[in-house]
């Protein structure tokens, strides 16, 4: 399943910032754009002698694979977290 949210937390010791970014809205907004660009993408793939269907499937697997990615970086009181949910 594609990631629906990105949770970003940023502690700088003095300040604390937390963001919940609704990725599902981004996917919904991108979908019409992707549909418009699809014919150009297919033509480009055929010119580059690449299988467009395999590229689309692999791209989809890349996007769905992002779900569950966590990155935590901590230095002293500073902390930066990214979670793909």
């Amino acid at each position: 399943m594609i990631p629906l949210f990105v949770v970003i937390r940023w502690h700088t010791g003095r300040r604390q910032l937390g963001l919940w970014l609704p990725l599902f809205l981004a996917w919904l907004l991108l979908l019409p754009l992707l549909l418009v660009l699809l014919p150009f993408f297919v033509i480009g793939c055929l010119l580059a002698r690449m299988n467009p269907w395999r590229l689309i499937v692999t791209g989809w697997q890349l996007v769905t694979g992002l779900r569950g990615t966590n990155i935590d970086i901590q230095q002293g009181e500073k902390q930066f977290q990214v979670r793909m949910v």
Binding site: N51, T58, G68, N70, G76
Partner: protein, 144 residues
């Protein structure tokens, strides 16, 4: 009906063994098959496929902000998709990429990374643990 059971019944039919002996042989055959099935199930159950690749880095090189800790969790599915993407690179572009990587000191041939080998590699990653423990730096890579 499997081959061994057929042989036992043939021996019974030709009078080489008695009915009691045939019964004991079939029971032993069933027991052996069920033990094999349990062993296979146990082996499969004991080694679940890894779902994430974890990288933990702790650096205690003190600067004004203190030690650095990095904790990264990457889903295996992302790695699989990345390898599949590498296999889709056209041959001409792949040669350029291989050349560029060789210039940077990485003698890796992207054409050798194939999706069918990837699943076997990921199965073996289940037992992979890399521990680097230096004076002020610790790196740990493992699958879970």
């Amino acid at each position: 009906m499997n081959e061994h059971r057929r042989e036992i019944l043939d021996m019974l039919a030709t009078g080489k063994i008695t009915a009691d002996e045939a019964d004991r042989l079939i029971a032993a055959l069933d027991k052996g098959q069920s033990l094999g099935a349990v062993a296979a199930t146990t082996e499969a159950g004991a080694k679940p496929r890894p779902k994430y690749l974890r990288v933990l880095v702790e650096s205690e090189d003190m600067d004004e902000d203190g030690p650095v800790k990095v904790n990264v969790r990457v889903p295996m599915q992302l790695l699989r998709a990345g390898v599949r993407l590498a296999s889709l690179i056209p041959a001409a572009a792949r040669d350029h990429v291989n050349e560029a990587m060789r210039e940077q000191g990485m003698a890796v041939d992207l054409s050798q990374i194939k999706p069918e080998n990837l699943e076997e590699l990921i199965d073996q990653l289940n037992d992979l643990t890399v521990d680097v423990d230096q004076k002020s730096n610790k790196v740990r890579v493992f699958c879970e």
